[in-house]
């Protein structure tokens, strides 16, 4: 482990480079291939260069309305993001006080991460089916006669996504508060701040960059989520589900174009969030320290 870079270093660096190539190679291949000319196929070599397949995608291929599922996934992602932030921050605050039942809630959250997604998805689907059956059989007639299903994007779908995003949100909150110095809060309290003022003006600004991180996680996890969505979305599909459907039917580069577009959305969202985190940290550094602006 000395200062010298021995054989081990070069071997490991080479291994790492191979791993990165393995990670990126295939993705770069489809990004490049999505710019195939109109005659191009699913494999190399490139047959011309054009935006033809993106245009095709925009027109829609008749079978599946990509634009609609794109919008649905985007809206769902935004709602999941907001709820994940609000619910995780609240729960994170609760866990600092060691309330009774906290251990149980923690283990449930972890269990939600490690129970295979298809089982969670199946369970939620069963739950909504049973609710529908109950309403149809025992509900008041004005409801029972016309009722079809409670299942939908913003009911069962939203719930399924939250069981996936909230455990991550909670773990990030744990990481934040492990490093949080309670002295700031005590100072605020000593100066007479109410609990809400303490949270709003002291705690929140300090944890804000990480809270943006939770939102970012929430959006991207929902945007790409497929296993938990598979049984619970109802009649309409999210973008990843449509994409999965397309893998068996579409044999043209428009599927690569779709891959390029959805990846671009992920990247834009993430870079926007990283930028926001950076800006918040800079602001913190500027306002949090009075170095150089002293009285003397």
């Amino acid at each position: 482990m000395g200062g010298e870079r021995g054989k081990a270093f070069y071997f490991l660096a080479f291994f790492f480079a191979l791993y990165v190539l393995f990670l990126y190679g295939p993705m770069i291949a489809i990004f490049v291939l999505s710019f195939q000319g109109p005659e191009g196929g699913l494999t190399f070599p490139m047959n011309g260069f054009s935006f033809y397949w993106f245009g095709k995608l925009y027109e829609g291929n008749g079978i599946i309305k990509i634009g609609a599922s794109f919008l649905r996934s985007f809206k769902l992602g935004l709602v999941v993001m907001l709820l994940t932030v609000a619910i995780s921050v609240a729960a994170g605050l609760a866990f600092r006080k060691k309330f009774r039942g906290s251990a149980a809630l923690f283990y449930i959250a972890i269990a939600s991460l490690i129970v295979p997604s298809i089982i969670t998805s199946l369970g939620i689907a069963l739950e909504f089916r049973i609710m529908d059956d109950v309403v149809r059989h025992y509900g008041p007639s004005w409801l029972a006669d016309t009722h079809t299903t409670f299942m939908g994007l913003f009911t069962s779908g939203l719930g399924a996504h939250l069981t996936w995003t909230l455990p991550f949100g909670l773990l990030i909150m744990f990481a934040i508060f492990n490093r949080f110095n309670p002295a700031y809060e005590e100072a605020a309290r000593d100066l007479g701040a109410t609990p809400w003022q303490t949270f709003r003006h002291v705690v929140l600004p300090i944890i804000l960059p990480s809270v943006v991180g939770i939102g970012l996680f929430g959006f991207t996890l929902s945007w790409d989520e497929i296993a938990r969505s598979s049984q619970v979305i109802g009649e309409v599909n999210t973008l990843p589900l449509d994409l999965q459907g397309l893998t068996t039917t579409v044999t043209k580069p428009d599927i690569y174009a779709l891959g390029t577009v959805t990846s671009a959305v992920s990247f834009v969202v993430i870079f926007a969030a990283l930028f926001a985190i950076r800006a918040l940290q800079n602001r913190q550094a500027k306002q949090g320290s009075d170095a150089g602006s002293g009285m003397v």
Binding site: M1, F15, I124, L126, R129, Q231, S263, F267
Partner: protein, 310 residues
């Protein structure tokens, strides 16, 4: 002010019982939304899966009367076929085999990559940059990362073009895509990240002076790796393993897309039953899968106290 305790400890003690009770109430209120979400969308659904697995069913609906049909149908003919394995047992054997292969490969790659990042990359900036580099592909949809293999592994893909062009094989290899090979490859591609992160996390917490001490005591690099670093990185290894194993055990999407819908897995059985609207049978299979997965996790978590590591 100087006398004020910097930690929360003493001031907590001085609180009146009423304050403490209101603290508890506030904490419960704050934890309530999360509790409700998990109760309604996780615990209740799991309980329903177990309950429905004991219901009866016909071609198009489930019938709420007690029945073991979901399970007996699943294991139909298993006893009679012994010592040959019946479909369900064969499927589980295959799932476990895929799972083991993916686990051992992701562990090897994940450990090596994490080791490189934690011990050989000296500057903090480079560590962050290189970790970010590994994270970026994770931001893209799994399905896209799967189909990305098609232009490489397909019949006319780059790999086959290269192999044929170089004269190594005389006609394109058929087993590269839509095979067990492509399933394992895609799973490794998708989930090695889940190994790198926890292992890296436990490695950077290792006190470097322990490694110096091992060297001073005359240990070789290999001995240090096996006797110092590996035991200390064990929590990360176990957490990463639990992630990878539970994902692969329940996976039906990667197996479907990369296996050309031809390969069976435990998750795929559930999906097939669901598509046939045989909910009790699907639920019974879910219970079996859950049981097997939990057994593996229980065995792994015997090795380490996970809560302590978070």
């Amino acid at each position: 002010m100087a006398a004020a305790a910097p930690t929360a400890g003493p001031s907590q003690k001085s609180k009146s019982p009423i304050d403490r009770a209101s603290d508890q109430l506030l904490a419960w209120a704050q934890a309530l939304p999360m509790t409700l979400v998990f109760a309604f969308f996780f615990l209740l659904p799991l309980a329903l899966v177990v309950m429905v697995s004991f219901w009866d069913y016909n071609e198009y609906e489930m019938i709420p009367t007690f029945s073991g049909r979901g399970y007996t149908d699943t294991f139909e003919g298993c006893l009679a076929e012994l010592p040959n394995l019946c479909t369900i047992l064969k499927t589980y054997a295959k799932t476990l085999k895929l799972c083991f292969l993916v686990w051992i490969i992701t562990l090897t790659i994940g450990f090596t990559v994490a080791y490189f990042l934690a011990f050989h990359v000296k500057s903090k900036t480079w560590q962050i940059m290189l970790s970010l580099l590994c994270t970026i592909p994770f931001w893209t949809s799994n399905v896209i990362r799967m189909i990305a293999w098609i232009p490489l592994l397909g019949r006319n893909g780059l790999v086959n073009q290269g192999l044929v062009g170089a004269g190594i094989v005389d006609k394109p290899l058929e087993w590269l895509l839509y095979s067990e090979f492509s399933v394992v490859l895609a799973l490794v591609h998708l989930f090695t990240f889940f190994m790198v992160v926890p292992i890296f996390n436990s490695m950077i917490r290792i006190d470097k002076s322990l490694i110096e001490a091992a060297y001073d005591a005359g240990a070789t690099g290999w001995q240090t790796l096996v006797n110092v670093i590996m035991p200390l990185a064990k929590p990360g290894i176990v957490i990463g393993s639990i992630f990878v194993i539970t994902i692969v055990m329940g996976d039906f999407i990667t197996v479907g897309v990369m296996g050309g819908q031809q390969i069976a897995s435990a998750g795929k059985i559930i999906e097939t039953r669901l598509n046939a609207l045989q909910f009790p049978a699907a639920a019974a299979n879910a219970v079996i899968l859950l049981g097997v997965t939990l057994l593996i996790i229980a065995a792994l978590s015997k090795l380490v106290d996970i809560r302590k590591e978070l």
